[in-house]
Symmetry: C2
Subunit: 326 residues, 2 copies
């Protein structure tokens, strides 16, 4: 079995070799592609493909192509999302559309999606059809999730269940699909594939809620980014959706008024909204929901018909993702 | 053997049934997808997939998924190209980004590309790997061609060979790949696949040059669009590239000056540039080049190891595309 660090090394090495051993022309198209891919991120999704495979097989070579496909696809979505959100920074660097313009960002993103499928096509032929089905379903759902997110931000009223459905599509299904693709490559049966998918899906939901939680209730000294950014931008997070849902009318009006008011006093806005969240016990409610999804994910993993010691690294990763403080 | 009209009917019917028999949600994502797909266009690419298959096999059912994949991919490229070119009309209707905004146009385009791969994945499993390889290569080349086109329009000096390479990538490789995919599905050997690919590639080059030719030298009464639009927009066509290449310095200066001058007199600009083209025999040189590529394409078709009568419809289509006057 390979550790998370060993899998990460495999992914980085294969990505570098791919760039070095091929000619990419024209540079205007491909420079933004590799700029996007080389970001020093966590590479969770490709690691999940390889861990899913490694659960069933000791040799992970046959999973590398799918792992890179999922990673490249994920980075393509970030690139296009950054245009749609008009974000100027990602991972402390200018976004592609800020650095090279919107047209280049659109086209380079398109090329990345095709590159993802090129990698997928390098998978063992006997698994290609199944891999395509799992991957395509998730890829389309990611687009659907992004559209729901756009709809929400454009002002439609959002309930907890709508929010959870949105993050299921936008974030979780790709984590789930990554694990299932690993299972497909490891010749797992349908039941094990589904349990791994649901392990990933629930983990993804917990992961996204942890993101929402940390942005308001994280510890500034370890979080890295500014605490309260979601509050400042009125982002529809689990915290806000839940607060709007459970608050009495006077509190809800106070919250909405504070969101609309733009007096430039950022610290005060963060303080006031956080105070409302505290009065409503939003932190506890969020933590509770995270534990719920975390437990669901562990239940599904426990049902996978593989010796417990083979699951150790996946449990470790799940623990890391849920208990992280940045 | 099925006629072009019969194949067209198969394509339209399958596309309609696909829309009717599936739920597409959210509407904000999928309405622009079907708006783009239902345009009453020529459907050349999917017809070519089915004709390529029909050359070798009487039953074309196994080619429908690939045919739709190619058509959906082509329409995705038009959707994203329209954003990049900031075009407001396509086929006498508002473009998606004018009708729904740039963000929707980006995201719906992304969803279309994934839908294309979903169709591809419905192809017979034994051919899937080969189909993916042919399709992915062409798809990536289309992006490369679009980037070269952007580079050209941004001002780099363009020679005839650069222009031909650009249209090879941007237009021809997908027509070629469509035919090769049909051949793959028809169990054709590698040599026949390559000859069909090159038949399509040369046909595509001739087709694009015919486009350039008609925009300036077409007959207004049948052309449909305004004659001279490429001249008005200073578009880098084969005509312009060739004229800049072969003209003596004084003529070249006159041409460049007329391109830069923006006195609002459109009719006069078209007249003057056309006159320069006529002095340089650009129409004849373009026709010559079209005949050259047309002949190349016929040579490759003649080498395909199939009875001549099976090639009749492909020859008819090639003839139609080259001799068309609109």
């Amino acid at each position: 079995m390979k550790s998370i660090e060993e899998l990460l090394e495999v992914i980085e090495r294969n990505l570098s070799e791919y760039r070095e051993n091929n000619l990419f022309y024209p540079a205007e198209l491909y420079d933004p592609v590799f700029y996007t891919l080389q970001h020093g991120g966590k590479r969770i999704r490709p690691v999940l493909v390889l861990m899913g495979l490694n659960l069933f097989e000791d040799c992970i070579d046959e999973g590398i192509a799918s792992a890179l496909a999922v990673e490249i696809f994920h980075n393509f979505t970030l690139l296009h999302d950054d245009i749609m959100d008009n974000s100027s920074q990602r991972r402390s660097r200018p976004t592609v559309h800020k650095k090279w313009g919107v047209n280049t960002a659109i086209l380079s993103g398109d090329a990345m999606m095709i590159l993802a499928y090129r990698f997928l096509a390098k998978s063992p032929q006997k698994h290609l059809s199944s891999l395509m089905n799992v991957f395509n379903k998730a890829a389309l759902e990611v687009c659907e999730g992004q559209q729901l997110d756009i709809n929400f931000e454009a002002g439609s009223s959002v309930q907890e269940k709508d929010y959870l459905e949105m993050i299921r599509l936008k974030t979780s299904v790709l984590l789930a699909a990554a694990l299932q693709m690993g299972a497909v490559l490891g010749n797992a049966d349908q039941e094990d594939q589904e349990n791994l998918y649901l392990f990933g899906l629930n983990l993804g939901l917990a992961f996204q809620l942890q993101d929402d939680y940390l942005d308001t209730f994280g510890d500034q000294s370890v979080f890295g980014k500014r605490i309260g950014n979601d509050i400042l931008t009125n982002k529809k997070t689990f915290l806000l959706v839940k607060a709007l849902e459970i608050s009495a009318e006077t509190t809800r009006e106070k919250l909405v008024k504070r969101m609309i008011l733009n007096d430039g006093n950022e610290t005060e806005k963060i303080r006031q909204v956080t105070e409302i969240y505290e009065d409503l016990s939003i932190a506890e409610l969020t933590k509770q929901k995270i534990r719920h999804f975390h437990q669901n994910s562990l239940d599904h993993l426990s049902r996978v018909k593989v010796d417990d010691e083979r699951k150790a690294f996946l449990l470790e990763l799940a623990e890391q993702l849920i208990t992280r403080d940045k």
